[in-house]
Amino acid sequence: MANIVVFLCRCFGEIDNTIDFDLLRKELSKDTSVSSLSIVDSLCLETDIEKAAFKINESKADRVLIAACSILSRGNLPVNGLIKEGMERHKIGLVDIREGCAWIHNNDSDGAVKKAKDLLNMGISALQHKEKSEDMSVTVHPDALIIGAGPAGLAAAASLAKTGFKVNILERANAPGGMLRLISQLYPTGEDAANKLNPYIDEVENNPLITLYPQSKIVSIEGYVGNFTVQFASQGKDNSIQSGIIIIATGAKIFFPTGLYRYGEIRNVITQMEIERQFLKGSFDVKKTVFIQCAGARNEERPYCSTICCPASLKNAMRLAEEDPGSEVFILHRGIMTPGNVLEKYYRDALSRGIQFIRFEEERPPRIMGDDHVESVEVYDAVNGITRKIETDLVVLSTPLVPNDDNARLAQMLGIEVDRYGFLSEIYPMHPLETKMDGVLICGSARWPVASDQAILQGKAAAMKAVSYLRQSEIAASTLSRVPGPKSGHARVVPDFCTGCGNCVAACPFDACHLEKTKGRYISKVDMMRCKACGNCVSVCPNGSMQIPEHNYRMVGEMIKWAF
């Protein structure tokens, strides 16, 4: 027979006039599982909790039920207090008789008392069946793994190295730098991209803590936070490294608008990237240039705004204007996207430099005239409502960044998700840069198109989040909670009962369940490092062989039984 100590908190008489505590005492005294019952004025003060703890030890109780205010107001105080005093969480029950009862039924005292009694019965019966989940912990491998040596990856590597952690970087190309290497200058400062990139590259080359694996391709990723094992091939050699966390900084891909605006069909229709290359080669003279924005973006296929194309066009337009003051530059756009004070000023500068902006509509895109090379661009000016013909000898298409082709594969290997466009997605809500898998962080254009400065910022941020994992020597599964407070537990399988139907595997949002074949039959296994105790597996399990001990079916059954 259970031995439960019950505390009824009057909240300093706050709820006396609704709830008749003597009646409750009488009712509960019949219950043989209640060893002692005390009505107290308060339970949320240090001293109260000490007193309670003393009483519990004194009466050798194995469980304690607290009837007080809701867990969201002050109910958590006695609970946590008692835990501090050495009591186990699953042995403490909290019943909300203030917010949940007295305060909302103050005009129906009888009903309130009946309810309080039922709630207490529910609490008592539940407490008797509450169990404790197993826990596990992994020793954290102190190295970090970064996939992608673009600005984001490099920045992350640098800051991790600075905090003293060993970093491995896997880069697909044969040299670090990512897309930044293709760009001559950066907006809005106009400084050379190289200046920004080189310090990081030096860091990577010279810092003994950082190892770069160029020309590498990932074969497989296994494990979970604290201990990932990554198989990969670098420069043709198979290789394997361990790491505590993984930062994904694989960036994005440039979109080639073949077929759009006769790109690839006639000369002098090029993309931003090509003009950047030109600038890297040196200057070139064009009298009239037309930039066309949103080439292949913000349409049916790619509804999103790539965010970096408008500033980029402004940058290059102004550069052309600078290099040849006599030249004319047009920007045909569907609304210039320059958020923030800095970029907005950038746009105004462009205006003052005489760059001409013409807004067109998606339905009526500009038309490129000319036979083998561009002669003019015909565009319907949506603002003035007239069609204009612009003589030009160069058309530059602003194309969006698109996700890498192998994002899906990568996500699948890591057990994370990609969004509807194919960019890697972080979890909702309130967990920037974090993914469904603990210890897998994303930054830079891999998660969303960003300019280099943003990428670097995110890289550093990711590094800091990584540190929060890496500095622990051990990580307990129970601490990997996605919600305020600790995890509510872990799902537990009763192997003899499991039929191996795989419902849990299909239903688990965190891929924490998998089937293992033993003696000719499949049995579900729960990976505690991944399990977040949402309980989906429990409610799809046909015969209850999957349970969350802290909220098992016997508890629920009992509570329902005593509800009225």
């Binding site: 191996g500 795989g502 000719g520 046909p542």
Partner: protein, 283 residues
């Protein structure tokens, strides 16, 4: 049809594609009963009538035989669907499942209210057009019309239940051991009629997305409770909302196990703002 089936079965046994074929045997006393044919010679005694669901037997035989034993089974549409569901639930290895599919007659379909009286892998017999259960008079009585009346109607048949567990025992999909129906947390023990809401509805709902409408439960019921009717509207809903039918596609898991992104639901309004979250088009 019978001859064709016999030949296929013979072939299977002769070519050692399987060690045995499960089917119906007519003894020299004209007694029909299930039998595992292991020698081609025996097959002369093979018969196909009456409709006798073999999926459950097939399962139980496989369970007790060594893993390498390969058993073929002569099955009708519902049998096959059940077997496919069982492969999806890892009770049978997809690779080793070998069926000889036979079609049901029009009459049989009408009796079973079966909308799909033929297997996907059809080996013998002509495909007969299925029946639409919702056109059946009795079905309509139980499924359509005044709630209060229907509530009593159902209560009146369900309270006949003698708790023989026949519905569960005969259901090809029910493989759990132990079963929730035996657990006193869910269903009160030791009294008939069985607790109506729990015993019957828990059972019904556990099969909501797996029921292949074979009607075994109903046939096994000694007190003629129309148990199949419990499933009909849920099956309909799954078909309409997710285009899902149990037992057709071995690869497709039940939609009620996955989220709205993997298995969107037609006709559901999703809040505009969740577009900004992860997801596929159409959200």
């Amino acid at each position: 049809m019978l001859e064709k089936t016999k030949n296929i079965a013979k072939q299977i046994l002769e070519e050692k594609k399987a060690d045995g074929v499960l089917g119906l045997m007519k003894s020299r006393w004209d007694i029909v009963q299930p039998h595992v044919f292991e020698k081609p010679g025996e097959l002369d005694a093979l018969v196909l009538e009456p409709k006798w669901l073999l999926a459950k037997l097939f399962m139980s035989i496989l369970r007790s035989y060594p893993e390498d034993y390969r058993l073929a089974v002569i099955c009708r549409g519902c049998d096959e669907r059940a077997l496919i569901e069982l492969t999806k639930r890892n009770q049978i290895e997809k690779e080793t499942l070998l069926t000889i599919g036979i079609a049901c007659s029009q009459e049989q379909a009408a009796i079973c209210l079966c909308d799909r009286p033929y297997p996907v892998k059809l080996d013998a017999g002509e495909i007969a057009s299925g029946a639409d259960p919702f056109q059946d008079e009795r079905v309509r009585e139980f499924l359509i019309g005044n709630d209060k009346k229907r509530m009593e109607k159902w209560a009146n048949v369900l309270k006949r239940c003698i708790k023989c567990y026949g519905c569960r025992n005969s259901c090809p999909i029910c493989v759990c051991e132990p079963c929730k129906l035996e657990d006193d947390v869910w269903v009160q023990r030791g009294a008939v009629p069985a607790e109506m809401i729990t015993f019957h509805l828990i059972r019904a709902f556990h099969l909501s997305d797996t029921c292949v409408a074979c009607g075994a439960c109903q046939e096994a019921c000694p007190v003629n409770i129309p148990l199949l009717y419990l499933q009909l509207s849920m099956r309909k809903t799954l078909k309409e909302k997710y285009g899902y039918e149990a037992g057709l596609d071995p690869e497709r898991k039940s939609p009620i196990l996955s989220d709205f992104f993997k298995e969107p639901e037609t006709g559901r309004e999703y809040p505009e703002w969740i577009n900004s979250l992860r997801g596929k088009d159409g959200y």
